[in-house]
């Protein structure tokens, strides 16, 4: 892979990751996360990992669609995204711990430089599943099924809760209608005032 192309994509990946982590507003952080998924997909495709790139894009799209459908479109849960950003109390502690662990990871990478791929002197990282790629894919499929099952189990709602959600949703709709009506009335009153002022 071309080093310049890698540097550009790596800068984009780091910037998007930093944006996701540091941005206090959740909507902007979600946009940064989408940017990260896009940059990582392009990086994988550029490195020749076409299958991983396509899977990354598809998975990011599906996960994003689920999150958008539940959190943005569904009025009931919209409040989850409107939580005011909390001021992190222990930013410097988190920064120090993350920095130390990143340094440790870099040292491990540097010390095991000959074991990154099969053909090195020691155990190769990519031989973890004993060259049985199909096992990894089957495990991934099983994981998707289990994950979906767990998500449905955790997120399931009872009849009472669904009824309460419907009532809450209709209340939100009613309040929005009333707000719009109030704003229209206010705008009409202002326009009338201006007209009367001009006539006088």
């Amino acid at each position: 892979m071309n080093a310049i192309l890698f540097d550009v994509l790596a800068a984009l990946v780091v910037a998007a990751a930093a944006g996701t982590v540091v941005q206090p507003r959740l909507r902007r952080a979600a946009l940064a996360l989408a940017g990260l998924a896009l940059a990582v997909t392009v990086l994988f495709l550029s490195a020749g990992a076409y299958a991983v790139g396509i899977v990354e894009a598809v998975v990011a799209l599906l996960t994003g669609a689920i999150a958008w459908g539940l959190l943005v479109r569904g009025r009931v849960y919209r409040g989850v995204l409107e939580v005011p950003p909390a001021a992190p109390r222990t930013r410097w502690v988190g920064g120090a711990v993350a920095g130390l662990l990143t340094l440790l990871l870099l040292v491990v990478f540097a010390l095991s430089a000959t074991d990154w791929h099969s053909g090195g002197a020691g155990a190769a990282l990519v031989t973890v599943l004993h060259y049985r790629a199909v096992y990894a894919l089957l495990l991934a499929i099983a994981l998707v099924a289990v994950g979906a099952g767990v998500a449905l189990l955790v997120g399931r709602t009872s009849d009472d809760e669904r009824e309460a959600d419907r009532a809450y949703e209709s209340r939100l709709r009613r309040e929005e209608r009333e707000r719009r009506r109030r704003e229209d009335r206010e705008a009409a009153r202002r326009a009338r005032g201006r007209r009367e002022g001009q006539e006088a």
Binding site: V13, L26, V52, A140, E161
Partner: protein, 111 residues
């Protein structure tokens, strides 16, 4: 000049560090979840780099399979995390992770 596995290792470490920083400092549950997704991106970058730019006799499909597995694991975590977030929102009406501590309070009192 080409990018080797060392470049991917460095990028993976940086993304790991940023994700960890987010997990340790964010208090809003949705932000915490997004930081975890950043964290989970790091090993995928390393796997792809090692498999495709390794320069050894690595078989790319094996590295790719592991990377796909990691991507799917991250997505599963995200979906389960969203479900958990919605459940907690429904229960306590807040997305502030620091308030989740109170959920354990009644059982502690009973004990």
């Amino acid at each position: 000049m080409t990018a080797g596995p060392g470049h991917f290792a460095l990028l993976s470490s940086l993304v790991f560090g940023l994700g960890l920083f987010g997990v340790l400092t964010r208090r809003d549950a949705a932000g915490l979840l997004m930081s975890m997704l950043v964290l989970f991106t790091a090993p995928v970058i390393a796997l792809v780099g090692f498999a495709h730019e390794g320069g050894g006799s690595a078989v790319p499909p094996t590295g790719d399979a592991l990377a796909v597995f990691a991507v799917v694991a991250a997505a599963t975590e995200a979906v389960a995390g969203i479900a958990l977030l919605l459940l907690l929102w429904r229960r306590i009406g807040s997305g502030d992770a620091s308030e989740f501590d109170d959920i354990a309070a009644p059982s502690d009192a009973e004990a």
